[in-house]
Amino acid sequence: MVALKINGAVREVRSSPDTPLLYVLRNELGVMTPKFGCGMAQCGACSVLLGDEEVRACVTPVSAIEGQEVTTVEGLADRWAKRTGAAARDGLHPVQEAWIEEQVPQCGICQYGMMIKVTELLEANPKPTDADIKAALTTSGPSPHLCRCASYAAILDGAHRAARIMAEAKGQ
């Protein structure tokens, strides 16, 4: 049995320790926002936060992350509330709010990973430039975060709006 900390709760899992986190989240724990995209850390559809760092759940065996804090999109709102003391409006993290407000997704399958990566960015750099956002989503991780619909212009708008929402919330 491996004990994982998923979105603030300790979960004992039965899956074999070499199982990638992605399959444990989706099949054993019912945490469904990390999506299967490539299984090779090439696209970012399965991204989660491990502590403060974005990792690819499809290639991360659960044995390697025992006891470490994992956050998925399901846990973003609580993470925001816990870290800032600000209430999560409508049960959403500012990045999620911004994604709805800016109507960012086309099909949306890659956007969970995009939102995870942008959360990682904004926690470290609350006022990013276009170049910062593009770099975060292209060169900062094991691979670029890919969007086949190419919703990149909307993602840029979404990231800037999220930064504004976060700044406003912290200012209050």
Binding site: C38, V73, G91, Q103, I109, L137, A153, L156
Partner: protein, 782 residues
Amino acid sequence: MSGADVIETVETVDIHGATLSRRAFLGAGGVLAVSLGLVPSRVLAQAPPGNSLPPAKAGSWIEIRHDGTVLIRTGKCDFGQSSIFTAYRQIVAEELGVPIEAVTTVVTGDTDTTPDGGGTFGLLRGADNLRKAAAYTREAVIDVAARRFGVARSAVTVSNGQVSGGGRTESYGSLVSGRDFQLTIPVEGELTSFFGLRVAGDPPFKPASAYTIVGQPVKNPILAPKISGEATWVGDVKLPGMLHARVIHPATLGSTLVSAGKVDAAQFPGSRVVVIGNLVAVVAPDEWEAIQAADFVAAETKWSEWKGLPTHEGLFDHLREKVDWSALPASKGKSSGDTTAASAGAAKRHEGTYFFPYMKHAPISPTVSLADVRADGSVVLHTHSQNPQYLRMSIARMLGRPEADVVVRTYPGASHFGRSNGGNAGSEDEAVLLSRELGRPVRVQWMRPDDMLWSTSSSTMMSRIRIGLDADGRIASYQSDHHGPPMQDDRPIGAILAGLPTIGAPTPDNKLGLQRVSMGISDRWVYDAVENVAEACHATYQIGQRESPLEIGLRDHSMRTPIQFQQNFPRETAISEAAALAGTDPLQFRIDHVKEERFKAILLRLRDEAGWETRPSPSPQAQSSGTAVVRGQGVSIMFRDNGYWACAAQVAVTPDTGEVRVERITTVMDLGIVVNPLQLKRQVQAGCLMGVSQALHEEMAFDEGAITSTDWSSYPILTMEEMPEVKVVITARPEVGDYGQGSESANALAAPAIAAAFFDATGKPARRLPLRPDYVKAMLTA
């Protein structure tokens, strides 16, 4: 007698060819439900199979409930366009005369709960079904109100959910309250055919000048549940007792099974191998075990060797030199004047051969399906499809069972840009066959290489363009000859491998669906000022299909702006080269050769919006060698779905490295009625960037036996850092009446604009895609 049970006299009224009947008191409830009445005189009309919405029963299309809320149903599915949740609600609300908020429910896709079928493409053309259903409904409500109020129909008005006449006003909900009205509308076609059912007749439409909801930037209601994590995607569906499967596809596109590997029971205790003909799969209750066991078994599985493909490096030569284009009849597009004489008399001539590679739809998530075949042989298939009724037909055909035995349920999934508009995208049929074999629900998730190697691909094209210029530098003659395999093969791959019935390989005389081998002009001629035009199309069989013992080969499929992209790239690139030959600015050259004012207007707008420099190409600073960056601009235009499109690209090229960067891309379009400017803008921004991806990166690689683009490193797509500045300019002309369709076109326009900008920057033509460094260096030294 109690009010709730009283059956009133059934009263029927003709409403513009639809039939309204008032059936009963219902107590507190009440509904006006629109059902389908098949037009008997139409050739194709036949009753839908069982497990479909029965004709002439309540609730097929639109339901108006006693609380005033409205439910709509469509057989189309969402693939990121948003239209069925935004534009469709707007169009229905507009025609009914209710607020957009009243349209609370959209039922989509599932074969047993939606009425019309047909492929999810041309969504706003397809909106005509619900638009007509809504118009019939409004007319019926007016009739009900006229009787209630004791006034003539002409004295009744509808606005904002309120129906007024003779000094009285009632809401839609109140008018139907306590009664069950059924409106039967005329429908033609065949539910499980490629195009599905169409609502017939000509109910009166609200004039566009009176629109208040169409044209508003309505948000997409399905985004919030997706973003919050509440939405159930196709890959998230689970059933009790479900097994996870991975399919071990053949070594090549022509390999047959020699022997299937065995699973190591000690290492993989829950796994087993299933073999059905040439279809090999591994199943296990645990997904990670299934993945590992499938890798183990795949390594032990033997396939026959096969070679029968020209390779992607040899494809251009294969199309130019090896294919016998006279074997199948050619078809003509625009044909006017005398191109032979005009070309012979031309002052200058441009001639070029252009090449468009195979591309992949390449959804971010590989295809996944979950099938549940019950002991009685009935099938429930949980999947993601652009044409669920046609998929249902394919599954029934494969199993040799009636269509009534098959239900397809649909869920959100990754966009795949047309790949399943003929029903399947891959995995659906395999899940069904494995579930039938094992008597348990089976989930088939294709891995990334399965999705790259075993899905269909966007087809290749080789085009010869000849343009003659007169002494004034105007186009005297235009001749095009497009050569390629057909656009579409909708056979499910698992059924082919298992040796089970399909709609058959594409051949010149296959009349099922779109399986006929043919090639026609998709890129409509737009330069009306040119007198002498001859467009011809030449078809061939799918590459490798007749050589493959499995009849597989490189299976083609429509992909975002299909065939028009393949034909517009050579045409527009050649027009830019001809403009250079004429010494004329390429944007002005286009204005000079179109007659349509709407084209002239968007080109003038593009000139302003794009920061266009008016001058002939190539640029005075053009260089084809060196390490210094050279810059250029290019333009392209297209007519599609009654919409006028123009695009300008500004690029930077580093000749010695072959690197091409798109710095800015501007798209201007006039689409007639813009239903939803917010969603249109997002769609066009993204479509345009997908086009940049296709222009710079995308070519499906293959060797003599198999596709070799297996993943994102061997089939790269645009990354966010490569994103240019994107500008989208929407112009509206509501008076023309057409609903603007924005999910296509933008992607296709980018490539010829980028190719023309490359020519402007370097002075060397770019007659093939993609513009990636190795090809670019070859172009620059040619």
